[in-house]
């Protein structure tokens, strides 16, 4: 099992969600986050006082998929989230030891 964690532009989130559904990813956890990588923030000026806003809003999508589906899921995210501009985000893939469905205590890939 792989955990895929993708941090994407808020404006690309809907496209990412439908692309993942198309390749058969059934569950995901989504959060609104703030952060920055290489993308610089922006400045706001209120009556001459300048503030730099360097933490920018992003959407974090997390999902755990069977090993066989990991590559296609990553490809789907790349296709949907890429605009080619700085600030498009990152994808992290990690190996997951165990998954347990709380309702009936299914374990492993059947729990996904």
């Amino acid at each position: 099992m792989k955990k895929i964690e993708a941090i994407v532009q808020p404006s690309r989130f809907d496209a990412v969600k439908s692309a993942l559904q198309e390749v058969g990813v059934e569950g995901m956890t989504v959060s609104e986050v703030r952060g920055h990588g290489r993308q610089k923030g922006h400045t706001e000026v209120y009556r001459g006082s300048e503030y730099t806003v360097d933490l920018l809003p992003k959407i974090k999508v997390e999902m755990v998929v069977p090993d066989a589906r990991a590559t296609s899921a990553v490809q789907a995210i790349l296709r949907a989230a890429k605009t080619g501009k700085i600030g498009d985000g990152k994808i992290f893939v990690t190996t997951v030891d165990e998954a347990i469905r709380i309702r009936n205590e299914d374990r492993g890939e059947t729990a996904l």
């Binding site: 706001e44 000026v45 209120y46 009556r47 001459g48 006082s49 503030y51 730099t52």
Partner: protein, 473 residues
């Protein structure tokens, strides 16, 4: 179908109206009795006068309501949007509670200290507890409205003036300190200044025998210079907010401020046009000047900001409009539309420079720019009133024979600019000295600032036990 019916009705009404006077005209003159005609004329004159009084009274009551609307919700929203969200309620409360506090002071003695005959500096005690302030007009102030209307209209000015100061000490003053400060400030600074400019026999009163006739139509010195300068003194005495200017302290909702500024703009028609104290053409002239001044200043500030900063911000545009309204306040009933545009444009640019360049150069934390907008804009407007005031608009200055004379510099009366400067200087001195004394007293008795912990927590929770936004409930 409906339209045809309503046209028929309209026609019927017109016929009735047109035939009525003709019917009246036929009967009585034939009788021709002198005393009868005399009595009818007297009745008619009384009715005309009553109608005039009713019209003026209706207008002035609406204006009083409009001026109250400037404090709440106008100023409360304007200032409330500019602070951080942990202080939004406390900031709005500082405006709101003055609507109650100043009203009680005004009822007990405030009105008397300003408008009863007294000496040159302060009014007498004859109207204590509003004794004798009733339906009869006071012709020295406003001959066609009940003195009670005049009293309640002037009250709304006494409310908004201290409320303007709250912008300077936002986000760091104890609520009880603020209450004590405002009570003392109303008595020590506002009442004398308002008496000097508007009260019978006041030192600066231009129409009721002042020694130095100063033009202040709707309160440039009385309201804006006193509050703005006192604001600066407060900002300097209380010191900066924690983190200022290193940590960002951005407005939590410019949206609220936009709504507040628009309400201020509308309410200002009551403030300035209402200062004609009657529903005549002078009110129209002041209304027009007010609107034109605000418009030009919004453009002036925006242009200055766009030029120096690359963008015209919304906060800039609304701040400019308020600055223009401040500057046109003393001039509203004395200048024509083109002069109003000029005054507004100058005020927009000057106030922009005050809150951006001057404030950052000296580093004081006038948190919501009460001094930069009201102190600077008010002083500028008072002086420009001496420049642009025109006899053709308002022949207020008269010579010994009672003939109207030149008013402002544009009329060829440069001395008026000097008088205006004296008026502004007196307002500055009174505001600085009075405010310093009051701050000392409040500091020694209840203490001015909240603790650091309370300031970090926010005034909403620490002073009032509430939060402005319980969005997750």
């Amino acid at each position: 179908m409906q339209r045809t019916v309503s046209r028929l009705m309209l026609g019927l009404v017109l016929v009735c109206t047109l035939s009525a006077p003709a019917g009246l005209a036929q009967a009585p003159p034939a009788a021709g009795a002198g005393p009868d005609v005399q009595a009818r004329i007297a009745t008619l004159e009384q009715q005309v006068s009553d109608a005039r009084h009713a019209g003026d009274n209706a207008w002035m009551l609406v204006c009083a309501a409009l001026v109250l609307m400037m404090t709440g919700p106008g100023l409360a929203l304007f200032y409330g949007g500019l602070v951080r969200k942990k202080n939004v309620l406390a900031t709005m409360m500082q405006s709101f509670i003055l609507m109650a506090v100043v009203t009680v002071l005004w009822a007990f003695f405030g009105y008397s200290l300003v408008f009863h005959e007294g000496n040159r500096l302060i009014g007498g005690l004859g109207y204590l507890f509003l004794h004798g302030v009733g339906a009869a007009p006071d012709p020295d102030y406003a001959g066609t409205i009940p003195q009670q209307t005049f009293m309640v209209y002037q009250l709304m000015f006494a409310i908004i003036t201290p409320a303007l100061i709250t912008g300077a000490f936002a986000e760091r003053m104890k609520f009880k300190a603020m209450l004590l400060f405002m009570v003392l400030w109303s008595i020590i600074v506002y009442d004398p200044m308002a008496h000097m400019v508007w009260g019978k026999g006041g030192l600066l009163n231009a129409s009721l025998g002042g020694a130095i006739p100063t033009l202040d139509f709707a309160g440039g010195t009385v309201v804006h210079v006193t509050s703005g300068v006192s604001a600066l003194v407060c900002a300097l005495y209380l010191g900066k907010r924690l983190g200022f200017p290193k940590e960002p302290i951005p407005p939590h909702s410019v949206v609220l401020s936009v709504i507040g500024a628009c309400l201020l703009w509308v309410g200002w028609f009551g403030f300035n046009a209402g200062s004609a104290l009657a529903a005549g053409s002078l009110a129209t002239s002041a209304f027009v000047a007010t609107h034109f001044g605000a418009a030009a200043a919004a453009l002036g500030w925006s242009a200055a900001e766009w030029f120096s900063n690359g963008k015209a911000s919304v906060l800039g545009a609304i701040s400019g409009a308020v600055a223009g309204l401040v500057a046109i306040t003393p001039a509203a009933g004395f200048v024509g539309p083109m002069s109003a545009l000029a005054i507004g444009a100058i005020a927009g640019v000057v106030c922009y420079l005050m809150v951006t360049r001057v404030k950052s150069k000296f580093g004081y934390d006038d948190s919501l720019d009460a001094f930069g907008v009201h102190g600077a804009g008010g002083s500028l407007g008072a002086v420009l009133t001496g420049v642009f005031a025109a006899q053709a608009i308002n022949p207020i200055l008269k010579n010994a024979q009672g003939a109207a004379t030149a008013v402002g510099l544009v009329d060829g009366h440069p001395g008026q600019v000097l008088n205006q400067l004296v008026g502004v200087a007196i307002a500055w001195v009174l505001a600085v000295v009075g405010t310093l004394v009051i701050l000392k007293v409040v500091d020694w008795t209840v203490g001015l600032r909240v603790s650091e912990e309370q300031e970090v927590q926010g005034l909403d929770l620490s002073q009032h036990g509430e939060e402005g936004y319980n969005l997750e409930v």
